[in-house]
Symmetry: C2
């Protein structure tokens, strides 16, 4: 079992080796033995040129599934090299939600693909495509098992046996009225422990949550976590059943949320294709470098205001980075804590003030401690009492401002609907650089020169 389920790192290397040796039949055999998620991982870990080769070696039966496991940008890059009729062929077996995902990557070819589908599938696809990707309707499955409310358990059981098998991750059957409105659920596990002679109403659960189709996916994830759900019905505003969300969709949502907050701290998108061509990556990254350049020159301008002071006392130039960097670090700690509290929904009007005061107090305490330590080190280095006192006060001032900015910036950005994880760091270091240099060089100008 080990070789099937846990990723076997050797296989990866072997396949790359086979490709280099142009031993394609060996590579094909190894790919055939892998799970589609592993094939997707191999494609995602390969430079663009190798991807087409690997794609050609995959069993066409699983190509569609492999596509659905690739990250967005990687998939886009690969699909660009594949002809439309081939895409239509390999996606035939994909569930509607995965197909919808894929079509959203191909705006120019979407119509051609949609027109090639049969009427039933097209209608189902259009119902998913009518919702954005970040709400329940955009990620739902359409393969829910449903039953009418006026039947007996025995009828339900016979219906299930007639079906022969149930869609993946089915833990409940949705009970609908004549108009297709959701009435409640019958859980398979209740069905199996109950005497078939009993009525359906004895095991009908009417308090299982139904999810309105326009609910944000983040909220859907919270609901699944809170209630330990395996699946849940998705409904429109008249409680008409549209589809269902399963826990594996929720895991994808949570993974993406985590990746998003991690990647956006460096101005990157969580769907970034690590092995994309150089030019594309360079363009994307230079935007972030450009934004940061503006803040860097702002800091330089502040220093420039004090050039006469620095000329008289070069030690100031030497110690400048210490003041700025300590402020940046302390501020980013507060920033991270507050961003996370916002994400967890911990901050309301009653405790925000408390948290602000707490962070301010930490800034004051840490500011005091490090002011003394840094003043001492500076004195030992330059043997000037005045310089030591000035840098001490500059550190104290900067750490207090850092704490306040770290708390206020994400709250303000959040109010403005700007992602604090993306923009918070840049704004924060601008503040700590400017305040740090102002305080240090300003105090030096006033008291040392």
């Amino acid at each position: 079992m080990e070789s099937n389920t846990f990723t076997n790192e050797l296989t990866f290397h072997d396949i790359f080796g086979d490709l280099q040796n142009e031993d394609f039949s060996a590579a094909r055999n190894k790919l055939d033995a892998l799970h589609p998620t592993d094939i997707a991982l191999i494609i995602g870990s390969s430079p663009t040129k190798q991807r087409e080769k690997i794609w050609g070696l995959i069993d066409p039966e699983v190509q569609g599934e492999v596509l659905s496991y690739l990250n967005e940008e990687t998939r886009k890059n690969l699909l660009d090299t594949i002809e439309t009729h081939e895409i239509v062929a390999v996606t035939e077996s994909l569930p509607t939600d995965d197909l919808a995902d894929l079509i959203q990557d191909l705006p120019q070819r979407a119509e051609e693909i949609i027109l090639s589908l049969d009427t039933d599938r097209r209608k189902r696809l259009e119902s998913v495509l009518s919702y954005p990707e970040d709400v329940a309707g955009g990620v739902m499955d359409l393969d829910a098992v449903t039953i009418r409310e006026d039947v007996s358990i025995d009828v339900v059981l016979r219906y299930m046996r007639k079906l022969g098998n149930l869609p993946h991750t089915t833990d409940q059957i949705f009970v609908l009225d004549r108009d297709g409105n959701y009435q409640g659920s019958i859980f398979i596990n209740d069905l199996i422990v109950t005497d078939p002679d009993q009525s359906v109403s004895s095991i009908l659960k009417i308090d299982t949550p139904s999810i309105p189709a326009d609910t944000a996916v983040a909220e859907v994830a919270t609901l699944f976590e809170k209630l330990d759900l395996v699946s849940a019905p998705v409904v429109d505003y008249n409680q008409k059943l549209l589809g269902r969300i399963t826990v594996d969709d929720v895991i994808d949502i949570i993974r993406e949320e985590g990746a998003h907050s991690f990647m956006s701290m460096a101005g990157l998108d969580e769907e970034t294709d690590t092995f994309a061509p150089v030019i594309k990556s360079t363009q994307r990254r230079s935007v972030w470098l450009g934004i940061n350049l503006i803040t860097a020159f702002l800091a330089a301008w502040v220093i420039g205001l004090f050039d006469a002071t620095i000329e008289q006392m070069v030690a100031l130039a030497v110690l400048m980075p210490v003041v700025a960097s300590m402020g940046g670090i302390a501020g980013s700690q507060t920033l991270t804590i507050v961003i996370r509290s916002i994400a967890l929904g911990q901050l309301g009007k009653n405790n925000t003030r408390w948290l602000f005061n707490k962070e301010l107090l930490i800034g004051l305490l840490n500011g005091g401690i490090w002011a003394v330590i840094i003043a001492l080190i500076s004195y030992l280095w330059f043997e000037q009492v005045g310089l030591a006192v000035v840098i001490g006060f500059a550190i104290l001032i900067n750490l207090i401002f850092a704490a306040m900015s770290g708390a206020v910036i994400p709250l303000v950005l959040h109010k403005m609907n700007i992602d604090p994880a993306l923009a918070g760091g840049v704004v924060l270091t601008t503040v700590t650089d400017v305040i740090g240099f102002m305080a240090f060089l300003g105090l030096a100008t006033l008291y040392l020169i």
Copy 2:
């Protein structure tokens, strides 16, 4: 249904208001209407002093469950205020894995709590406690439904009806041999669509993965994602069934992984209690500030080497931060990409070299572009061709080194078993500061003075 399932922000504020007005019966009524996860959220969002008050108002029936939903540090802080016999009473209804979690927070009182349990529960608890928290054995449930292999479907069905109800998230029954060794699974959904007259062997799945108890939780999560599992058996090295892992445990694991990489970038623990007392938080944060201070003084020391140069040309001091900060930003982009690729298992010996070359090329391209732009701006500002040329070359050099360090540092740290998300940023900015200042001030010393 809305009010039960989706978090109602108003309720939060109301409860804080009631507490301030000392209207405890109103607060108690509102708490009674909330799900235990929401009560846990309210406690986690309250300053320490208010927590005890809220705790006292919670229905004792749900107190145990509320404890299990708190984050580790918050729980520890709260438990410190609760007497041992009360802890024993409220945790009576908790599943063994949650109780094990809780006991690990209370090393001094663990023995007392364990001794107060009945023999059966104590034995179960000790089996979970014998594994660390970060492997399958440490997070498994012990409430698996099992059956012997030599029975008919009809017997299985009758056994299920006798049980009356199944543990949460049960999608399969584990089939054991006489010695308790795992042989395979019967999925409830197969059971329900199959004719009761058929034999168990017709629906016995022997290829469902069993998880060795010492498997890392991160690997367990990957397995669940890959195979869309709802639950899986946990076994020892003789395939003896020990327990099971369910998908809701996996969601917790994935949430924690995401929080970990986000928080550790700022030197914070994902289990940090945001509303902990000031002194505790100050201590914890100052460690990180201390580490960063060393790197800041290293940068200062490098600048100090060139103090004579700066004295002759103060514009150098003004522009210094631009060189350092552009290097830091570019490097952290590469760092983030590589840390994520390591986490996704994308990097092997065949593509690491390729990725390194790609990042180097991006560094070269972006270095070239920004060198020209920054040289131009510097020329317009200071009107010195020499200075403009020197800063251009310094930017180019620093962005190239930033790309190389961003790629190499996380790989080296990972090899040394140091978490790259925690230590990568500090090491990287040390390199980009030192290289940036060396290149800029060094070139200036050679060519401008």
